[in-house]
C-alpha cells in the first residue's frame, strides 16, 4: 500500500517522469495544452495520492481510534502513519507534536483560540507582518476584539522583505506574546529569515508561529533546528488532498493550551458537570478526523521525500530565475517584490491591462494563473496596488511552460496596448 510509483522511488529530478505522475497535466483547456501555473493556490495530485485514498475506500476503511475490530485497527494505523510522516518531514522530535487539522486556516484559528485565549493575557500583543495571508490576520483580529490582545504589524520593505529592525522595535516593550509570520509569501515569493525571527522573538520572550503553507512545498523545514513553537501548513498545496492541515506545536506548550473544539476523540471523560481532556495531540482533534485525507497526505509526503527537497529546490530556483528573466523583458510588465531570497511564486502587473483581464486572456490559451488579492489584501494595499496576476510553480512545472507564459504575455500586451 502507498507504494511509490517506480518512477519516483529513487531518481534524480526527471521532469518527464514527474509529469507522468500527474495525469491532469495532459488535459486540454479550450483545445490548448493546460499550463498550470496556479499551484500556489492548490497543487495537483500525483497518482500515488489517488491510489492511497482509493485503496483505503476499496479495501481498508472504518472509523479510527475507537474500534476494536480489524478494519478499524488497520485504518487507525494507516491514518496515524500520516502523523509520523509529518513528524519526519518537519523533523519534529515527538509525533505528539503533530496536530492534524483540516487546513492551515484551522491551525491559525486553533492557536488563536487555544494559545491566544488560554495562554496569552489581555494586554499582551501578537505581531504579524504586512505580507500575511488572511488566514494569519483575521484570527488574530478576532482574538484582539474578543480578548483584548493588541495586534501589531511588522513592516516590510518596498522590495517585499521583512523589515527586521521594524520587527525588533515592535518587540522592544516585552509585551509581545506571539510573533506569527509567514515563512514564504504567497504573493511575493519572499522567504523570510525564520532563524533570525525565532531568535529575535525568543530573546524578547515571545513565542513564534510560522505560516509554512507555501514554504514547505519548496524547502526543507526542520522545526527542531528552527526552534519554532508553532508551524502550520496545508495538505492540498503539498500535492495532498484537500481537507487536511498540519500544525506542529512544541511539546512543552501543549499542556497549558486548552482545547479549541469540543466533541468526540478529544475528551478523556465526559459528564454533564465536567469533562476532562485527552492528552495532546488528541485534545486538539475533535470528532472523526480526516481519515482518507490523512492516508492521502501520507502518500503525498512520501512522494515529496522521494524526490527530495534538494532536487525540488534546485528545480524551483531554475524556474524562478528563468521566469524572472523572461518576464522582466516584457515591456510594461512590473514584477511585484524583489526579495533576495525568493521562490517560485511571482506576482506581476501590466500597464494598461487589469490583472483579471490578463488572467482571462491567459486562460484562453490554457494558462492558469491567479489574479486579485490572493487573500492578502493588506499587502496589496501596502504595495499601492489593486490586484496582481500571479504565476506559481510546482514540481511538475517546466521551463517550456514559463516560455509559453512569457510569449503569451507579450501578446496580451499587444491586445490591450
Amino acid at each position: 500500500m502507498n507504494a511509490m510509483s517506480k518512477s519516483v522511488a529513487s531518481r534524480t529530478f526527471d521532469i518527464e517522469a514527474i509529469r507522468a505522475d500527474f495525469p491532469i497535466l495532459a488535459e486540454k483547456i479550450r483545445g490548448k495544452d493546460l499550463v498550470f501555473l496556479d499551484s500556489g493556490a492548490s497543487a495537483q495530485k500525483p497518482v500515488v495520492v489517488m491510489e492511497a485514498m482509493l485503496h483505503a475506500m476499496q479495501h481498508q476503511y472504518a472509523n479510527v481510534h475507537r474500534g476494536l475490530h480489524w478494519m478499524s485497527e488497520r485504518t487507525t494505523e494507516a491514518y496515524e502513519a500520516a502523523r509520523d510522516a509529518a513528524a519526519r518531514l518537519m523533523n519534529a522530535s515527538d509525533r505528539r507534536e503533530i496536530v492534524i487539522t483540516h487546513s492551515s486556516t484551522e491551525a491559525f484559528n486553533l492557536v488563536a483560540h487555544s494559545f491566544g485565549r488560554g495562554v496569552l493575557k489581555p494586554g499582551q500583543a501578537v505581531v504579524v507582518s504586512q505580507m500575511e495571508h488572511h488566514a494569519n490576520i483575521v484570527p488574530w483580529q478576532m482574538l484582539r476584539d474578543a480578548h483584548g490582545i493588541e495586534l501589531r504589524v511588522a513592516p516590510i520593505t518596498d522590495a517585499g522583505e521583512l523589515d527586521m529592525d521594524g520587527l525588533e522595535t515592535l518587540l522592544a516593550d516585552g509585551k509581545v506574546g506571539l510573533v506569527s509570520i509567514t515563512h514564504m509569501s504567497n504573493v511575493l515569493g519572499t522567504y523570510t529569515p525564520v532563524e533570525r525571527i525565532v531568535k529575535l522573538a525568543h530573546a524578547y520572550g515571545a513565542k513564534v508561529m510560522l505560516d509554512g503553507s507555501q514554504a514547505i512545498v519548496h524547502r526543507r523545514v526542520d522545526v527542531q533546528a528552527l526552534d519554532v513553537d508553532f508551524y502550520a501548513w496545508t495538505g492540498h498545496k503539498l500535492y495532498g488532498p484537500t481537507g487536511i492541515g498540519i500544525l506542529y506545536t512544541k511539546r512543552e506548550l501543549q499542556e497549558a493550551m486548552p482545547p479549541f473544539m469540543g466533541g468526540g476523540d478529544m475528551i478523556s471523560s465526559v459528564s454533564f458537570e465536567h469533562s476532562s481532556w485527552a492528552e495532546a495531540p488528541h485534545k486538539f482533534e475533535a470528532g472523526t478526523p480526516p481519515i482518507l485525507e490523512g492516508i492521502g497526505l501520507r502518500a503525498a509526503i512520501e512522494y515529496v521525500e522521494a524526490i527530495g527537497y534538494d532536487a525540488i529546490a534546485a528545480h524551483e530556483s531554475q524556474l524562478t530565475e528563468h521566469a524572472l528573466a523572461r518576464l522582466s523583458d516584457i515591456e510594461g510588465l512590473t514584477i511585484v517584490g524583489r526579495a533576495q531570497d525568493r521562490g517560485g511564486v511571482i506576482s506581476f502587473t501590466m500597464d494598461g491591462a487589469h490583472a483579471h483581464d490578463v488572467a482571462t486572456l491567459l486562460d484562453r490559451q490554457g494558462i492558469a494563473v491567479r489574479a486579485g488579492f490572493h487573500c492578502a489584501e493588506p499587502l496589496i494595499r501596502r504595495l499601492g496596488l489593486d490586484s496582481t496576476s500571479r504565476a506559481s510553480f510546482g514540481v511538475y512545472t517546466t521551463m517550456g511552460e514559463i516560455d509559453v507564459l512569457a510569449d503569451t504575455l507579450e501578446r496580451v500586451r499587444g491586445f490591450f496596448g
Binding site: G352, H356, D357, T360, G372, S387, R411, F415, F416
Partner: protein, 147 residues
C-alpha cells in the same frame, strides 16, 4: 492569437474599458454608493442625479478590469432617462443576459456588447458590479458587494 477572445473583449469593451466616457464623479448628485468585489479588488463608486423622477445623469469612479469599467460606462448610458424601477428592471434583464448570453430586448441594445461575458462565469460578477452599486445607490444604501 486571441481571436477567440473577441467574444468577451468586444472592441466596445476594450475601448470603454480603457477610456470610459462617463467615468467621472458628478459634482451634483442625489444618490451614490460604492460597489466592491472583495475577492479581486474591483471597486466602483456610482453617482446618480435625478430630474423629475428620472435618472438624468450617472457618473462613476472605477478601479478595476476592462469588463467592470466598460459595464459601468455602458450602464451610465443605458439608464439615462429611466425611472428607478425601469433601471432596476433593466439590471435584471442585463443579469440574465450575462448568464445566458441571450437578450434581444430593445432595451438591452446599448448593453449587448457585454453578452460575451456569459462564456466566462467568473467574470460575470465584474459585469454586475456597477449594477449592484446602482441598486444600492437607489435603495439609499452606502455599499454593496458583487461577491
Amino acid at each position: 492569437m486571441f481571436d477567440e477572445l473577441r467574444d468577451l473583449y468586444d472592441s466596445v469593451i476594450l475601448e470603454r474599458g480603457r477610456k470610459p466616457r462617463n467615468g467621472t464623479k458628478l459634482a451634483v448628485f442625489d444618490a451614490e454608493a460604492k460597489g466592491d468585489n472583495p475577492m479581486c479588488g474591483d471597486r466602483v463608486h456610482v453617482f446618480v442625479r435625478h430630474e423629475a423622477g428620472r435618472i438624468a445623469e450617472l457618473g462613476f469612479a472605477a478601479r478595476g478590469c476592462a469588463v467592470s469599467v466598460a459595464a459601468a460606462d455602458l450602464m451610465a448610458e443605458a439608464v439615462s432617462g429611466l425611472s428607478d424601477s425601469e433601471a432596476l428592471a433593466l439590471g435584471n434583464s442585463f443579469e440574465k443576459m450575462t448568464k445566458t448570453g441571450l437578450g434581444d430586448e430593445q432595451s438591452l441594445a446599448t448593453l449587448r456588447p457585454m453578452a460575451g461575458v456569459a462564456a466566462y462565469p467568473s467574470r460575470i460578477k465584474c459585469a454586475m458590479l456597477p449594477w449592484v452599486a446602482l441598486a444600492a445607490a437607489l435603495a439609499g444604501e452606502g455599499t454593496a458587494s458583487s461577491e
